[in-house]
Symmetry: C2
Subunit: 358 residues, 2 copies
DNA sequence: TTTCATTATGAGACCGGTCTCATTTGATAA
DNA sequence: TTATCAAATGAGACCGGTCTCATAATGAAA
């Protein structure tokens, strides 16, 4: 009748102290591994702890030290291999320095991002790594900075926010990728991204609040301009937010009379759906449509044809932000750094001259 | 000179109380949303909290309530899409019930698993979901149970441990998959798994400490026996622990004179590497080698040929354990349940009769 | 107006650690 | 032997919440 919850009371420092016949303070010194204790007493306490099977309460520890040993990470979508690889980079770097990671998804939505941040700061994480879903509303990030919690940005820079940031050279990458398509003879190229606007159509760069995509669009447009392509803005396609969504956009695109002859996909998830949609429409890569994508995902080398990709140093992206953040956590008060990692294109078999141009 | 750490002291309940001219207890009641307070005072406290930008310290809250609102999850490898999907199932179910998830990797190593568990219990998570890497040494899981922390098992059952468990019908799935290969005319089929033994070779089932793989091997052997295949044990290949490792095993296998004509891969990561290795060796699927794999990963439908897979309800696997665990966390003291979810085979194009048999 | 029940508030213990400061112990030097 | 000092230990405050219990205020009943 007294054991419905059957919550066993955990062994505490005081319990151990009593068992070892020393004061709580002394037992704490031994168990917490600080201060000085004589070897004899230490052994006694350790033995008592073992007898009682003492497990430190990390919560209480964090409470009094003010440090939790946790780094909070907020990414857009952990299921995207890009993010899961970056997160592994973060985790590895964190573990190496004795930190743990607690992960939250924003689903690329600003409100969810805010909620996640609220949760993590509530848990008093020591530092935060965020992939900001929007550059428009960053008040919550400002709040974090103001509260004194170190913050670092992953994959997306925020010009207005002067914090440690690690990104790749998105503009350059998009430029080179587009140029590769143009060089192959394409003029009806399409850049497809998950980012969306209210009107679901691209008008100008000021509508785009995701810095990486912004950069990519600029690189894309620049390469188009260089190639003398008229009104390249019309070639930017937004809203590939989910697999069905992507599928629909691509299918619809391909059914147009003036269908694109080449597609630049903004990530590997989009690329995979695009590839499927192209196949389903009865078209072939690269015969009918050329394809290139950001992120050298595992599967891209195994399709027929294998996909030409923009290889981003994803793991290192994560590793680098984590290292930057941890350096700050350890007290090195260096000025915020903005690291831009290089990318390079891996040419495989998904780009060919357009058939109409033959 | 006084601001090298510049750690801003966070606003506490006492601060708000003072600002609102009420006692700490009253402010706490309002901010913690418990007990009774008059409407007038409530408003005053809320206003003061807003003015001071009060953010509750979740740590302290957990400290006194004994509940953290966190579910700890330990999986083998988050980068494996199988696990990342299952984890999303867990996260979604958790979020729906107001819990958060903290994730740790075991890398399928028992010591790392123990360390991860130590970490999570130290953080006083409310409950744990584990994919046990071994059925041999489960003392640490017993400890958890003994301490009163609810535990649930994901994807792998432990016959000796009577706790909530959700798995798929691995034995049946392996049996059906193998039978599919046998029916196509294969007798030299190979089952390839990441699990390994000291001798790196399979002798008998008692060497295998991963329950899911154990079941799969039994299903595999049973189908082989049914087909009258002699000494099917020799067809079990272990040790595909990493991408290069898998690659090496497959390449070596394929170079043997008696090379297998069909392969059953234990997960999609192994299948992908296997597929690559087959290609590299200059062989084709399904012309030279038939292939079937566990887990209907995204990419499997997009290769040429698309891969025939055993479709596991991965998301629901995660969702179901989480729901079981949460039910227990909420105090429903039902007896431990063992749920086994069904799988089914999606036939695509990677199985054909063996060429030699033609 | 007094009494009693009821509601609202306050004081302070508590969670399980850390950490400061005072006190005791033991060894060394005078 | 006694003074001096460092090392070892203990007592208790503290972190920021929750929560119990006592007290004060309010309102209805007598």
């Amino acid at each position: 009748m007294k054991t419905p919850a059957l919550k066993i009371r955990a062994v505490t420092v005081s319990d151990v102290a009593q068992e070892a016949n020393v004061s709580k303070a002394t037992a704490a010194r031994v168990l917490g591994n600080y201060g000085v204790v004589s070897e004899k007493v230490r052994e006694g306490v350790l033995a008592a702890a073992k007898r009682l099977d003492y497990r430190p309460n990390e919560l209480a520890r964090s409470m009094s030290t003010g440090k939790s040993g946790i780094i909070g990470v907020v990414v857009g979508d952990i299921e995207n291999p890009f993010f899961s690889l970056a997160v592994r980079g973060i985790s590895d770097a964190a573990k190496a320095e004795g930190f743990n990671v607690i992960l939250a998804n924003s689903g690329e939505q600003i409100e969810t991002e805010k909620a996640a941040l609220r949760l993590l700061t509530g848990k008093r994480v020591d530092g935060l790594i965020v992939t900001p879903s929007e550059s428009r509303d960053i008040s919550h990030l400002r709040d974090i900075l103001r509260s004194g919690t170190p913050l670092a940005l992953l994959d997306r820079a925020l010009s207005d926010l002067d914090v440690d940031t690690v990104t790749v050279d998105d503009k350059q990458a998009a430029f080179m990728a587009t140029r590769l398509l143009v060089k192959a003879g394409h003029s009806n190229v399409c850049y497809l991204t998950a980012v969306d606007t209210d009107e679901h159509a691209y008008r100008n760069i000021d509508q785009i609040y995701t810095s990486s995509v912004r950069d990519r669009i600029q690189g894309f447009l620049q390469a188009c301009a260089e190639a003398g392509i008229d009104k390249p803005e019309r070639l930017v396609r937004l809203g590939a937010t989910s697999q069905p969504e992507t599928r629909a956009i691509v299918s619809e695109s391909l059914r147009q009379p003036q269908r694109p002859t080449a597609i630049l996909a903004s990530d590997s998830v989009i690329a995979l759906e695009t590839f499927k949609a192209i196949r389903e429409t009865g078209l072939s890569v690269p015969g009918d449509i050329s394809l290139i994508t950001f992120h050298n995902a595992d599967w891209t080398s195994v399709t027929s044809p294998p996909i030409t990709v923009i290889d981003q140093p994803v793991y290192n992206l994560g590793k680098a932000v984590a290292e930057l953040l941890i350096r700050r956590l350890k007290g090195h008060a260096h000025p915020p750094e903005r690291v831009i990692l290089p990318t390079h294109i891996i040419e495989r078999g998904s780009i060919a001259p357009p058939t109409t141009a033959k």
